[in-house]
């Protein structure tokens, strides 16, 4: 092998970190996602509610502007766990539609074009590919959920002072944690439907239907069996229970936060298994 020894040298220069390499994929994906008008429009719409909430925070912290209002009403409009839970409901709704809009375009085209072997013939594992796709969605949804939530929290701290922060810091932590759980569920649902259905529109419909159908089934179980635990299979309901616990808000009747957290954990595991099953470089149809 004299020729080989003379003619070829392996690359021995510096390499980027092994765990940071997967970030190459989101970088391109984000750029492409925001080139879609509908995604951009929905993202912009999702900022309307945080802006209104910011105005509300400003008002509640400027007593002089509320002079003319009823005393009881002034006590009612407070920035507390309830306020942030309402903020989260609205933003969570936007996140559902954004995930359904953007998620299916992430994996379905790669499967349809047999592009997975291309990715996996790099030093990239299936899990790092999945993590890259998850990062795309989580990153995009973060922009309309916990990031503006944290900005609102910071605004409230800035206006209300350190005492408010010391008394309510758990709200900030709870909000971020609660949003992250919801984003994880949304992203996994979008990825799973994208991995199973190669048509983007159908995948989007399935990822939306997932939430509505489970919500309906949960309601049916409750009504037919005259129980209150049926809702636990509804991810939106379950995550709401967890949020209530995190934000210190009175939860709706039904299984508690711990049971709901377990239900969500089971859902996450199932969705991860679904994705794991489909994300294979070689598909054999027998």
């Amino acid at each position: 092998m004299a020729v080989y020894k003379r003619g070829y040298r392996r690359y021995d220069g510096p390499l980027t970190g092994r765990w940071a390499r997967f970030l190459v994929l989101p970088r391109y994906a984000w750029r492409r996602l925001y080139q879609q008008r509908l995604v951009l429009l929905l993202t912009m719409l999702a900022f309307v509610w945080p802006l209104l909430c910011a105005g509300f925070i400003y008002l509640t912290n400027h007593a002089e502007l509320l002079q003319g209002l009823d005393r009881d009403f002034r006590q009612f409009i407070q920035v507390n766990g309830q306020f942030f839970s309402i903020f989260m409901y609205v933003q969570a709704g936007f996140a559902v539609f954004l995930a359904a809009l953007a998620g299916p375009g992430l994996i379905a085209p790669d499967l349809a074009n047999n592009a997975l072997p291309l990715y996996f013939s790099r030093p990239l594992t299936r899990w790092s590919y999945a993590l890259a796709r998850l990062t795309v969605l989580m990153g995009m949804l973060s922009v309309v959920t916990w990031v503006p939530g944290l900005v609102l929290f910071a605004l409230q701290v800035g206006l209300a002072g350190g005492a408010w922060f010391r008394a309510n810091w758990t709200i900030g932590v709870g909000m971020v944690a609660g949003f992250l759980v919801w984003l994880l569920i949304l992203s996994l649902v979008a990825m799973a439907s994208s991995a199973y259905v190669k048509w983007r529109v159908v995948a989007a419909a399935i990822s939306l239907a997932f939430f509505f159908i489970l919500s309906g089934v949960g309601e049916m179980i409750d009504q037919v069996l005259r129980v209150t635990w049926g809702h636990i299979i509804d991810p939106a309901w379950a995550v709401n229970q967890v949020w209530c616990a995190l934000l210190g808000v009175t939860p709706p009747e039904g299984p508690g936060a711990a049971a709901s957290a377990w239900a969500l954990a089971a859902m996450i595991v199932l969705l991860a298994l679904v994705i794991e099953r489909k994300l294979r470089p070689v598909e054999v149809v027998s």
């Binding site: 003619g7 070829y8 220069g13 980027t16 391109y28 074009n113 047999n114 030093p123 990239l124 027998s286």
Partner: protein
């Protein structure tokens, strides 16, 4: 460890056979995997690149296990048969992104991307979107991404499909260059004439099993049941034919229409060579002797075509 080694490798997709008890030792150079559709060529390639793992047996790619993608993919370039380049990306972006996934810094990745595009004559089209590429250009960009990180082992699934004759010749020349550098160039192809021209060795596969492996000549020599065929060019073809007919090992002779040549089928190559020598010494002028079935086409027909 510079060989690609398969040791008793089997792969089943559920109840579907991929490959069965494959044992191979592929030296550097151009190796062609030849076999009908569904014979297991792509499965072998996927096993080599670690995209799938064997149910049984072991694989070593120049001493590296395909279960270690971090190490394996540093030395392996794979071009699948699928047209997978994203249509929104430019050729340059496509190659650069792949290199960034390898862990190269941006400057290094861009430099390597340009080199790869240049080797495949795609420099002018580098900044055009892949969607605007012709089929041949998309094939070339696929090859470019496989070679961009300068791998030691190239696994190329149908790499010559869709290329025009000029680019095809250039690509074959590239394969030769890489093989000359001591790299493994493992290709699959349906175009047997091309395989014949470019391969240092062939692996014939059918129904998931290796039918033959080695240089075309050694494989041909081992096929005893089919007589070897030789084309002889000579002035007095009828006389030569009558002399050869008296030999026991000659089973058939066909005279050319122009009476200037004949096709001889012999069961013993050595005896045939000796007989031909005697004929030449007796004053018959032999202008040329060429083996007529020492090619992949014939091997394919003998070993696979009859199934």
């Amino acid at each position: 460890m510079t060989a690609v080694i398969f040791n008793e490798v089997s792969k089943f997709y559920g109840e579907v056979l991929g490959v069965n008890r494959v044992t191979l030792n592929v030296p550097p150079g151009i190796t062609s995997l030849v076999g009908p559709n569904g014979s297991g060529k792509t499965t072998l390639m996927n096993l080599m690149t670690g995209l799938i793992h064997p149910d049984h047996g072991t694989i070593s790619m120049r001493g590296i296990s395909p279960r270690d993608p971090e190490a394996l993919m540093r030395i392996t370039g794979y071009a699948t048969q699928y047209d997978t380049a994203p249509r929104w990306a430019t050729g340059f972006t496509f190659i650069t992104t792949g290199l960034l996934l390898f862990g190269y810094g941006r400057a290094e990745a861009e430099e390597k991307a340009w080199k790869a595009l240049e080797r495949l004559s795609l420099t002018d089209a580098a900044n055009r979107k892949v969607a605007a590429y012709s089929k041949g250009m998309r094939q070339r960009v696929r090859l470019a991404q496989a070679i961009a990180h300068d791998p030691e082992i190239l696994v190329l699934d149908e790499p010559l499909n869709g290329l025009d004759p000029l680019v095809r010749a250039e690509t074959i020349a590239l394969f030769r260059t890489w093989a000359g550098e001591g790299k493994h160039v493992i290709i699959s192809s349906h175009v047997l004439q091309e395989v014949d021209l470019i391969s240092d060795q062939v692996v014939l596969i059918a129904n998931g099993m290796i039918v033959a492996e080695g240089t075309i000549r050694t494989v041909r020599e081992e096929i005893q049941e089919h007589p070897s065929q030789y084309l002889i060019r000579c002035r007095d073809a009828s006389d030569v034919a009558s002399r050869l007919f008296s030999e026991d090992h000659v089973s058939e002779i066909r005279l050319n229409d122009d009476r200037m040549g004949l096709l001889v089928m012999t069961r013993d190559r050595e005896q045939f060579a000796r007989a031909l020598g005697r004929i030449a010494l007796d004053g018959h002028r032999i202008d040329g002797v060429v083996p007529a079935d020492e090619n992949v086409d014939a091997l394919y027909e003998y070993l696979i075509g009859g199934e």
